[in-house]
Symmetry: D2
Subunit: 340 residues, 4 copies
Amino acid sequence: MANNGTIQVGVIGAGRIGKIHAENLATRIPVVAAAAVADIDLSAAQELAARLHIPRACSDYRAILADPDIQAVAICSSTDTHARIIVEAAQAGKHIFCEKPIDHDLAKIDAALAAVKQAGVKLQIGFNRRFDPNFRKVREMVAEGKIGQPHILRITSRDPAPPPASYVKVSGGIFLDMTIHDFDMARYLIGDVREVYTAGAVLVDPEIGAAGDIDTAIITLTFENGAIGTIDNSRKAVYGYDQRVEVFGSGGMVTALNRTPDTHLYSNPEGVHSAKPLYFFLERYSESFLAEMQEFIQSIQHDTTPPVTGEDGRAPVLIGMAAKKSYLEKRPVSIREISH
Amino acid sequence: MANNGTIQVGVIGAGRIGKIHAENLATRIPVVAAAAVADIDLSAAQELAARLHIPRACSDYRAILADPDIQAVAICSSTDTHARIIVEAAQAGKHIFCEKPIDHDLAKIDAALAAVKQAGVKLQIGFNRRFDPNFRKVREMVAEGKIGQPHILRITSRDPAPPPASYVKVSGGIFLDMTIHDFDMARYLIGDVREVYTAGAVLVDPEIGAAGDIDTAIITLTFENGAIGTIDNSRKAVYGYDQRVEVFGSGGMVTALNRTPDTHLYSNPEGVHSAKPLYFFLERYSESFLAEMQEFIQSIQHDTTPPVTGEDGRAPVLIGMAAKKSYLEKRPVSIREISH
Amino acid sequence: MANNGTIQVGVIGAGRIGKIHAENLATRIPVVAAAAVADIDLSAAQELAARLHIPRACSDYRAILADPDIQAVAICSSTDTHARIIVEAAQAGKHIFCEKPIDHDLAKIDAALAAVKQAGVKLQIGFNRRFDPNFRKVREMVAEGKIGQPHILRITSRDPAPPPASYVKVSGGIFLDMTIHDFDMARYLIGDVREVYTAGAVLVDPEIGAAGDIDTAIITLTFENGAIGTIDNSRKAVYGYDQRVEVFGSGGMVTALNRTPDTHLYSNPEGVHSAKPLYFFLERYSESFLAEMQEFIQSIQHDTTPPVTGEDGRAPVLIGMAAKKSYLEKRPVSIREISH
Amino acid sequence: MANNGTIQVGVIGAGRIGKIHAENLATRIPVVAAAAVADIDLSAAQELAARLHIPRACSDYRAILADPDIQAVAICSSTDTHARIIVEAAQAGKHIFCEKPIDHDLAKIDAALAAVKQAGVKLQIGFNRRFDPNFRKVREMVAEGKIGQPHILRITSRDPAPPPASYVKVSGGIFLDMTIHDFDMARYLIGDVREVYTAGAVLVDPEIGAAGDIDTAIITLTFENGAIGTIDNSRKAVYGYDQRVEVFGSGGMVTALNRTPDTHLYSNPEGVHSAKPLYFFLERYSESFLAEMQEFIQSIQHDTTPPVTGEDGRAPVLIGMAAKKSYLEKRPVSIREISH
């Protein structure tokens, strides 16, 4: 820590998600100082630093890793750089917050986790939805036994609009880019997954199909504890971001519905009308981005295990790979097939 | 018709569902006269007839078929008798309302449908949920194009309590006994099914497993039109009968929620509390039982095709068979595999 | 009772509300026989009798009163005839179900109640909303102490469309025609009213103002037990019949919301849309019309006090008179001012 | 403005509401610098300044008024000091954000408004609820004509717990302390009020009665435009802060419901359960405190009229005085009686 007890954090990557974390670190977590921002586009780093009164901007993240006053980094760069930066940051003795996914390649993930283990630093993966108050409430009620033994999980997860085809091509595919959050949610709410089966289709945009991906999917999950589950995904929900979960068990059911910008109800001769869900993840999950960073910082302060570990970052990648294999081979696929 | 234009209907089977139809025919459809009730347990037939002022009770349904004043029958006897009585009723020139399923055996179903066709009588199958005002509204909105092209169907269908194991043994299994309604709903809302995949488990009651059945299932549906869907079933929802559907498409989404006995909201220091869903099918679907019979009678009056045909009775049996095969063989199963 | 234990009931008045009661008596209450219908328009009586297989139709209700086999009458004629028919029916020894209000004149009401008392017959007033499952639930929860001591009552009661001006002129005014149901609801949920204050306006239709009435009102109630309440009325809610109540107390709050024809939710780019409230009282209160008649019959069968007594019929007339006086004199008016 | 374009603001009063405004000014409004905090309790000012990195803390607000670099002040001190500080701040040429109410005394209010007018500075009153996204949506829909001509306004406004009796004594009474927000909301949604009638009671806490105040009230409003309205207040809703509004008109109705901490629904054998409303104003109105300050700053930046003017601060005090007079004199009271 700095001499005044403040934890200095460097932000690597000044894109959309980097901006969120930089802003939270700079203005909403008193014990933290956002000490530096790096981006390969130096002007982006400079602009963000200026807006948030962050003292330093650089184009090479290694400058951050080399700064002895910086204790922790938030890796918000493109996915293909995550594993490498994790290794280097661990070797530099920095605690690491890394956006999901760690990587699309299992060997790289394992190398990154090994480096973290060897260095003894903290690593937290950015599965922010675990920190959404709605889903957290569901998790708490499941953990408290309010629904008895879980039997059925339902997740609906639909984006308001598909990404550009250029992004789709480098995204790793819907399962590693989008459903990976739902796989993590499934693990958060129920536990480890044993097997998956995927039904998928290109219904939203033929360009996505041309890019070798799908845009609509239903994934059946079989959990190690015997429960079963279903995830449905679409890249385009015209009414906005649709993010719901439901856990059904021997003693009851708990659901989390969408959140809306306001609570108005308008009644006219056509019916009763209310607000759409919040538009996309920036709106829906703003509280969760702050909360995950607060807990990361707390895990440094109190030297505890971060709430989303490296293993929590690895497991959904395996599930995503199994889901893709299931789609391609038109059969249920065991997670063991992937991991062994 | 009788000389005063009244359509005389005989009810075959005085059990739970026979009572519902008899009561609707006797008191709620002005153009109809409930003319006779048959049940192998004569006293059950007599009791029902007395309560509803139905003039005739008998133990052998053939007495009803032999009555020239009776134009139509409602077959509410046990499933194993449906196909045979359909054949005999058709040969006797009676219009036929028959409870679902027609049979568990495809050859018997086909024989029954052939007899109906040859006789030129009406046949309507008792998939009452199509007449539920909530699901009908969903269907109408889908048909009107309100959600654009359908992409994803979700059906949740959970009973409040499992049937006795003795019933489970003769029920044909969860797919032909319980999910068959959901398969019909899927066809009603989206269209024909091409392939199914089943994940199932025994989580509610080991006795059900011992009887060779399962009590919890998630079935993935692939439709001929490219849409995909998921059905989740449980034999035991402690909060009551859970009957919801949702159709998501290119232009929007339409959902039907559960119905409750009242609209109260109770706020206290623990939270905001409201009523559970209506307990079971007698409560939830009472309007639909009346509406399906009214439309059956109208199809006789106006000589039109009944709203749920013999083919509509046959198709979900095929899907149910495919779902079972999928569960046993742990792979997706095409409907064609069953029907050919 | 007739020799077979059936209670024979005559229906006086074959208008809109008479038809409802006749149909319920004829088809939905097994222990009852609808024995006769009277209407000054004989053809209306005959038509109703024919449709429901009621054996007798007449133009003079006295023929019903003179029939020794008839034990009870349902008075559904125009308001100005209620008090007189109550007196005659009581003198004829018939039990009496009478539509609200008993009369607009206190002396006539008191004479009618005295005749009932002297004859020792049952009298139930048709405040059907007490039998609505939603409001009944509220009442039960209040009675069970679930909200502690009641502090604030809120009633919203708005019709979908105003009556014709011709009706307004003979209706007794909004307070005795429309709000009278809400005054009864207030007594049902909280207890006797001590004082009222009315703010009223003509906002819907100037013709109503020209007829000497108002169409929009807020009435403040002070109850004998110290609670306070507010009723808001409009003659025209373009989104349908708006019928809500809310009781707030020291331990919580219980609300009854509107009922809808179905539970659909439609999400599109404009928002989330659901069904309007049921259109008007025939739709919203159909169950309550049946339930009030069943309880009237039960009070005859078991010789118990009817659930809505003559006093319950008289009290809201007093409140209505006070509300009107308050509106005219622009000051709070005590119920005692009216009754003494 | 400071040379870099930043608007320097001083906060007067470091109590509960002062802390909120200081935090928003210090961390959430980029164009602003929180330059100083004053509180008669110097340590409170120092503590707040330290936590938010505000450069200056003082015990006398006059030090802030004397600072030429400070352009605007946020007056968050006790109500009895508001009018005096407004006068002095105006004379010092500072723009003024002042918490409600301006004062309980009409002459002092008028003197303060006159000083503001003479100095030509901005004055915004802290009626934060106008900036709540839910109520703002209602206002927008009313303004857009979505409900046609407004006829009926309903406001429910209930606190989760009563203030201490010591506070009650100096609060000015429920109408100037609590209902004043509802009077402002009524003006915001409908327009100027012509007359009020109050029914009030002491039902929550006899100590409040002993302090000469009431804790439960229903206030009827008659608006200048002919609409009517009702406000119900309680000092204690055991289920949390209850803040709802509803505007009914010739073309429809728009309602704003309570907001909850999460969207979970829990179904078990007892019913369906969801979250209580957010606990109190700090939780419910956090967004509105930020939004009102942002708009105040914008009115300085763009030299426009602030969204809540001095007249908007004066009018609800008049209504509050009329409401109290109505309660004491048991009669409707015209606002003109107070203002003339």
